[in-house]
Each structure stands twice: as structure tokens, then as C-alpha cells.
């Protein structure tokens, strides 16, 4: 494959698509599949064939359309119409309405804030291309970034471009990507690795899954570019076994990319060679930690080890290793194609670009969104998210999963970026955003996260192994109205201990949900402790006592 071939394939694909007057996009990401979009797609195909419409109309399975709550979703690309909650029985109505007035009862308002306010870079192809066909990705300039990088840029230039963009790691901590790439590039050694962390372990986050299910080639391309920039020739995608569809699509995409020659030896007729293998996670949240992830790829238990040395100099099989997460890699191809300056034009001063969030919890529009960094929480929750259902009061939004915190209403106007979130005690995390209303007890929420951390703690270091259990016990005592007067002080004491002395990020950040809820929702705690009552009425024991 050379660059000319790439353009050729894109041209052929484009004209092929233009040959269809109507393209019906059916969401076949996991969310809609579980509402029956698979059957819907089949029914549509059958009906089209039966009616002999297949010359001018075609059905295409696409990745996530975003608004998971309204699934199964369907979009008519050319007409710009969205249908929601579509059933098999709606098929004939939809086909009959093609080219005419849309089916009113199924219409999903496209001009609502949910769609309007989004800026899509990572998700630009989600819901538009068939994730199981590499040609469609190529038709959308796919692999153009890789071609550009390997044929016209030196590795140093690629890294400079990434640095210039201000891209920061989307996995949680927000480490500058350019800097990370530089360290690996500069590390000595002939063998280096690139790892894509797709072990999206935060409960309540499904950004990476959606990207892998909807646009896997984007991630592959990003990894290849990283491989070129850092001098690695082997990549690994470490993906959760709990995402079978994502695994299947990534494997298929890798197969296609190899067959097309955009992976393998002498990519685009250059001396650059790059291969990618898939490794399955096996249900361990701690494997999101770099060193644990490496251990897991090596076939061992995912127990983190102290850093330094960092994976950049001492990683997979002791070789320099670059680890970025799915969304970070997914940002790379457009960044290379359009230039770091373009990317840096989006977002805030210190947080560039866009961020994908998984909106969930007590919110009207649950689903996947992508907004520029710096968008306010209020805009995300109330404008894009459509606010709280059933007229309930907003209480908090949880970001960053078990390592993050609960942000109260007083910070709704805060811009969402790495530093602002850190300032209020939370973290960006991978992008899970869970909205809670007045019916949630924040002690119970803290207990939920601590239970998670306790069962996900690898057990290597004592503060995390025993600390999570002790904190969990205290929180159980509080929600069960069995706490003593010293429990709150002990809770804070243990949180401080874990934060300061745990070995890895899991233990160091596990107290965050407790600390933020203690800070912003202390009344929830005090009511349990002093009045033996759950303010939100959520805790069972509390209800029974009252």
C-alpha cells in the first residue's frame, strides 16, 4: 500500500456510497444492540430486499450515535433525520417515508442541545461509518495521518506536533502526551512497545468501549503513529474481556489493516513496520494502572510496582514502553492531519481539545457526548444532558470514577478541565460523569465506591489492602446508623494515610469519593451519625430505624 492506493480506496468508497440515495444508519454499538437494534437492522435489510429497494437504499450498521437512552437509534444520513426507540414494527413506515415526510412519532430532535453543543473529533466517525469496514474509515481520510507522518515527517516532527497540540492523556491524570512520547523516544533500547490501555475499568464509563466499537481504526492509526514517533514496532491493545463486541471489532479491524498493509512491514513503502496484538483483560480494575497493565500483558497478576522507573524506560518485558488510553490515541490521527495548532485552538489554556464524556445516572439524556474542554458542568448536565428527570433536585455529579469525587451544585458553573476538577477535589478521569439527584445519599455513594476499591485493591501494599476495608467498614457503620462519635475522625485519618502512603494510583486516589463527599455533603454524614437518619432516604437501615 502506498499513499496513492489509500486515496484510490477512499475515492472508490466515496463514489460507491454516493450511489445510494438513502443510507439508513442503524446503531449497532452495545447499548442499542441490547435494545434490539440487531434485529431491527436485519428486518430493514430484508424489507429493502423484498421491496427491491437495494439499488438506491442501503442499511449500514454504525457505531454509537450517542443518545443511548433513546435506543435503538437510527439515522438517515442524507436527510439528516434521527429516529429513536425504533422497533421492528416501524420498519415499513420508515421505508415508506423515505424521501418524503419523516415518521413523526419516531423523530428525535437533531437540533436539540444534545447534538448541537457537541464538537466531535474523537467521535467524528461514530455513527457515521461502518466500524467493520476499513474502506469506510479510509473514505473519511482514515490512515491519512499515518501516511502523512511516516512519509513526510520525521519522528521528532511528529512528537513536536503532538506537543504543540497540548494534548494531555485522556486516561485520567492528564499527563502531557508529547512529553510522554518524548521520554519513550529518547529512552535507549532497540525494542520498544506501544500499549493502548482499553481496560476501561471505571464503573459508569463507556467512552473507550464506544470508540472501539464505533471507530476502531482510529485507535489503530493513532497507535501506529505513536509507534513511528517513538521507535516502537510492536503494539498491544489491552482491552477488557467484558467488552466482547469491542474485542471482536478491534480484531477484525486489525485483520483488515494488516491485509490492507497499513499495519505490518514497510508501511506506506517506508522502513517503518508496526504490528498490533490484542490482549484481553480479565476483570481487574487495577490493571488500568500502567505497571499493573504491563504485568497483566506479561501473563502475571496485575499488581503495580513502585515507579520510578517509569514504563517509558522500563516497561513491557523491561523495554521502554508507551502507554496511552483509547481516547488519547483516537485524538492523534486528526491532530496529525490537521496540525497541532488546529487542535490547540480548541479547549482552554491548559486543557486542549475536546473530551468525550459518558453521561449517566439521574439525567434525561444518558449517552456519549464530546464537548470542548472548558464547557461548564451546567451546560453539560442541564443543556446537553437535558437536566434531571422527574423534576428532582440536582445533588451532585461524580467524575473520575472510584478515583474521582462528587461535585456539588455550587460548582456547576465551573469549566470542565483537568485543573478545575482537581481544584475541587475530583479528577477528569477517563470521562465517566454520573449525575445524582436528591434521592442519593452521598455516604452511600462513598460506600459504593469504597466497596469497589476494596474489592479491586490488588492487596500488595498494606495501606490500601487494609485501609480500604477499614474505611468501608466505617462507611457501612455510618449508613447503617451504627457509627460511634470517633468514626468521622478515624475516617479522615485513614483517608489521609491511604492518600499519602499507598503504592499506586488506585490506593492514593481511592479516598477521593469519601473526601469530596465529606467536604461537600457533610450533612449527609452528620444526619446518619447524630440523628440516625438518612437525609436522602436512600439507606435501608436508616429507613428501618426511622
Amino acid at each position: 500500500m502506498n499513499i496513492e492506493d489509500l486515496h484510490q480506496i477512499a475515492r472508490i468508497e466515496k463514489s460507491k456510497q454516493e450511489g445510494f440515495q438513502h443510507q439508513i444508519h442503524v446503531c449497532v454499538a452495545a447499548g442499542c444492540l441490547s435494545c434490539g437494534s440487531g434485529q431491527l437492522k436485519e428486518a430493514l435489510e430484508k424489507e429493502i430486499a423484498r421491496r427491491g429497494l437495494d439499488t438506491w437504499c442501503r442499511v449500514k450498521g454504525v457505531g454509537c450515535l450517542g443518545l443511548c437512552t433513546a435506543g435503538p437509534l437510527l439515522s438517515l444520513e442524507t436527510a439528516g433525520i434521527f429516529y429513536q426507540g425504533v422497533k421492528v414494527s416501524d420498519v415499513s413506515d420508515i421505508l415508506e417515508a423515505l424521501g418524503g415526510a419523516p415518521v413523526e412519532r419516531l423523530i428525535c430532535p437533531v437540533n436539540s442541545a444534545f447534538f448541537r453543543r457537541q464538537v466531535r473529533i474523537v467521535l467524528e466517525n461514530c455513527g457515521r461509518i461502518d466500524p467493520e469496514r476499513i474502506e469506510e474509515y479510509m473514505a473519511e481520510s482514515g490512515y491519512g495521518g499515518l501516511a502523512l507522518a511516516v512519509s513526510q515527517m520525521s519522528p521528532t516532527e511528529v512528537i513536536e506536533e503532538v506537543s504543540r497540540s497540548g494534548l494531555r492523556g485522556r486516561g485520567g491524570a492528564g499527563f502531557p502526551t508529547g512529553l510522554k512520547w518524548t521520554s519513550v523516544a529518547k529512552a535507549s533500547g532497540l525494542t520498544k512497545f506501544v500499549i493502548c490501555n482499553a481496560d476501561e475499568g471505571d464503573p459508569g464509563a463507556f467512552m473507550d468501549r464506544s470508540v472501539l466499537e464505533s471507530d476502531p481504526h482510529r485507535v489503530i492509526e493513532g497507535m501506529a503513529i505513536a509507534g513511528y514517533a517513538t521507535g516502537a514496532s510492536q503494539g498491544y491493545i489491552y482491552v477488557r474481556a467484558e467488552y466482547p463486541l469491542a474485542v471482536k471489532r478491534v480484531r477484525l479491524a486489525l485483520f483488515q489493516a494488516e491485509r490492507m498493509g497499513v499495519l505490518g512491514n514497510n508501511i506506506f513503502n517506508t522502513s517503518f513496520s508496526f504490528n498490533i496484538k490484542v490482549r484481553l483483560g480479565a476483570g481487574a480494575f487495577v490493571c488500568g494502572e500502567e505497571t499493573a497493565l504491563i504485568a497483566s500483558i506479561e501473563g502475571r497478576m496485575g499488581r503495580p510496582r513502585p515507579r520510578p522507573p517509569f514504563p517509558a524506560e522500563f516497561g513491557l518485558w523491561e523495554h521502554p514502553t508507551l502507554i496511552n488510553n483509547v481516547e488519547t490515541f483516537a485524538n492523534v490521527p486528526p491532530l496529525i492531519r490537521k496540525g497541532g495548532r488546529w487542535f490547540a485552538g480548541l479547549g482552554t489554556e491548559k486543557s486542549k481539545g475536546t473530551k468525550v464524556f459518558a453521561l449517566a445516572g439521574k439525567i434525561m439524556n444518558t449517552g456519549l457526548i464530546e464537548v470542548p474542554m472548558g464547557t461548564s458542568l451546567r451546560d453539560i448536565v442541564f443543556d446537553i444532558g437535558g437536566g434531571i428527570p422527574r423534576g428532582k433536585e440536582f445533588k451532585a455529579v461524580q467524575t473520575g470514577g472510584p478515583s474521582g469525587g462528587c461535585i456539588p451544585g455550587q460548582f456547576l458553573d465551573m469549566p470542565v478541565d483537568y485543573d478545575s476538577l482537581a481544584k475541587v477535589g475530583s479528577i477528569m478521569g477517563s470521562g465517566g460523569m454520573i449525575v445524582m439527584d436528591e434521592s442519593s445519599c452521598m455516604v452511600d455513594v462513598a460506600r459504593f465506591f469504597m466497596e469497589f476499591c476494596m474489592s479491586e485493591s490488588c492487596g500488595k501494599c498494606a495501606p490500601c489492602r487494609v485501609g480500604t476495608r477499614q474505611i468501608y467498614d466505617i462507611l457501612c457503620r455510618i449508613t447503617g446508623n451504627l457509627s460511634g462519635p470517633d468514626d468521622l475522625a478515624m475516617l479522615e485519618d485513614l483517608c489521609d494515610l491511604m492518600k499519602s502512603t499507598s503504592l499506586c494510583g488506585l490506593g492514593q486516589s481511592a479516598p477521593n469519593p469519601v473526601l469530596t463527599t465529606l467536604r461537600y455533603f457533610r450533612d449527609d454524614y452528620l444526619s446518619h451519625i447524630h440523628d440516625k437518619r438518612c437525609l436522602a432516604g436512600a439507606c435501608k437501615a436508616a429507613r428501618e430505624v426511622a
Binding site: R305, S455, G459, A462, P463, R465, V466, R469, L497
Partner: protein, 255 residues
């Protein structure tokens, strides 16, 4: 993960440089590939440790050897931290000592450490640390797990109640004896050391019966049969010799 600075991490920096820096206001000098812990000990400054044992790979897991470094916000485990020129290290600040105590207290709550009836009473590293740090009571509630004793081996027994999960047994069995009979199952608070497929030690197919695990165990978790209360005194003289004589280049199964 075996981090062996001399062999792996800094091989490119050969020959290692001599640095001068400060530990507890004292100016010391050392090679850049000597851990802060080892430099401190050479200079007569004691830093509490539990998972560290000379002759075994480092784990950095017990977190008792944490020290403060001026200008660094995080506390660093001295067993796996290496000095830099002009670094200023404080080994026993009030903050560090209070954390060490709390960690130790957590260990005491984790399992049923009843010193009075323990074979290692009086010869126990955990007990000694508690004495050294002045722990007279434990603030946190005891968890009282129900753990069994495995006395199926003809010469040794393992009492999980007294295990602190330092994994010295696992390391010595793998790194020195080369049998890898021991490992650790499960995760988090439910982790437990096991032999082979979590079977009674006496039925292990791989155990050579060498007893090194027993000798490196810091507490009474592993002991020789026939030893009664307070009689189990561990012998570790063999470790440096064996390490030298069997010195494996790299571990096929690093921690």
C-alpha cells in the same frame, strides 16, 4: 516486578557515579545505584522495613520504609528510591513516623496476631517494629478473619493468621530455591499465600522442603514443627551466601 538497578535500569549509566547527599542532616556519599535504605543502614540510620530483606528482590510494598525528601511532596519508599546529588532525606519526621505507626496498626487489625501464644514471640519482626515505634494499642477495629493453620507439611507449618503478606517466602522460594512453590492467591484483603494449587503444603509436588521460606518469614506465620511458643528463632545466615552462589542473571518470573 524485579527492579534490579544494577542490572537493568541504569546499566547504560555505567560506571555508576558517586553522589553526596544528606540523610537526616548527615552528609553521606554513595553510589547512585544504592537504595536510600541501604545507604541509611550503612550509616547507622535505621529505617523500619517489613517486606525488604537483604538478598531478596525489592517489592516496595509494606510502605514502612517511607521517607521524606525535601522538595518532593510524595513520601518515597526508601527501599526502591535512589539518591540524587544533594538530595535531602529525612527518615523519621513526625509525619512519617505517624504514618508508619498507622500502617503497622492496620497490619495488626488485618489478622489475628496474638503474640502471647506465638512461636515467634520475642523473635518477631512485626512485634519488634511495634515495640520500636511505641505502639501500645491499636486504634482501628480488629477484623478477626477466620483463617486456618496448615500443618500438613511434615516439618513446617503455616499459620495464615500471622502472615503480613510480605511475600518473602514467595520470593526466596522463587529467586533462591528456584522452586516457586509459594505464591499469593486472590487480591486485596482476601489475598493469602498458597502452595501449588492452593493445596495443603504437605501435598505440594514442588516443595523441596528446604525451609528457606520459614527462615525468611518475619513473623510466626511460617515455623518449624516441634518449636513451641517463643521458640522459633529464624536463621538467615544462608541468604547472602546462597544469593551469591546461585546468583541468577534474571528471573523468569519476576515479582
Amino acid at each position: 516486578m524485579k527492579i534490579h538497578p544494577r542490572k537493568n535500569v541504569r546499566s547504560d549509566l555505567n560506571p555508576s557515579r558517586l553522589l553526596t547527599f544528606r540523610i537526616d542532616e548527615r552528609v553521606v556519599s554513595a553510589h547512585e545505584d544504592e537504595s536510600i535504605l541501604s545507604v541509611a543502614r550503612q550509616n547507622g540510620i535505621s529505617i523500619p522495613t517489613l517486606c525488604h530483606l537483604d538478598g531478596l528482590s525489592e517489592r516496595g510494598a509494606c510502605r514502612l520504609c517511607i521517607v521524606e525528601v525535601k522538595g518532593v511532596a510524595r513520601l518515597l519508599p526508601s527501599c526502591v528510591t535512589f539518591p540524587r546529588q544533594d538530595m535531602e532525606i529525612i527518615t523519621a519526621s513526625e509525619r512519617v513516623v505517624s504514618y508508619r505507626k498507622k500502617i503497622l496498626e492496620l497490619l495488626f487489625t488485618e489478622r489475628n496476631h496474638v503474640c502471647a501464644v506465638c512461636v515467634s514471640n520475642g523473635h518477631c519482626e512485626l512485634q519488634n517494629l511495634a515495640v520500636e515505634l511505641g505502639i501500645s494499642h491499636v486504634r482501628y477495629p480488629y477484623l478477626y478473619p477466620r483463617l486456618a493453620v496448615d500443618a500438613s507439611h511434615s516439618r513446617f507449618s503455616v499459620d495464615h493468621n500471622r502472615c503480613v503478606l510480605c511475600l518473602r517466602c514467595v520470593r526466596v522460594c522463587d529467586e533462591i530455591e528456584g522452586a516457586h512453590t509459594w505464591d499469593i492467591m486472590g487480591r486485596g484483603i482476601t489475598s493469602r499465600v498458597i502452595t501449588d494449587l492452593n493445596q495443603p503444603w504437605g501435598s505440594s509436588e514442588t516443595c523441596t522442603g528446604c525451609g528457606k521460606c520459614v527462615q525468611v518469614c518475619p513473623t510466626g506465620a511460617l515455623s518449624e514443627k516441634g518449636k513451641s511458643v517463643a521458640e522459633m528463632i529464624k536463621r538467615r545466615q544462608f541468604l547472602p551466601y546462597l544469593q551469591m552462589m546461585r546468583g541468577r542473571q534474571d528471573e523468569s518470573w519476576p515479582k
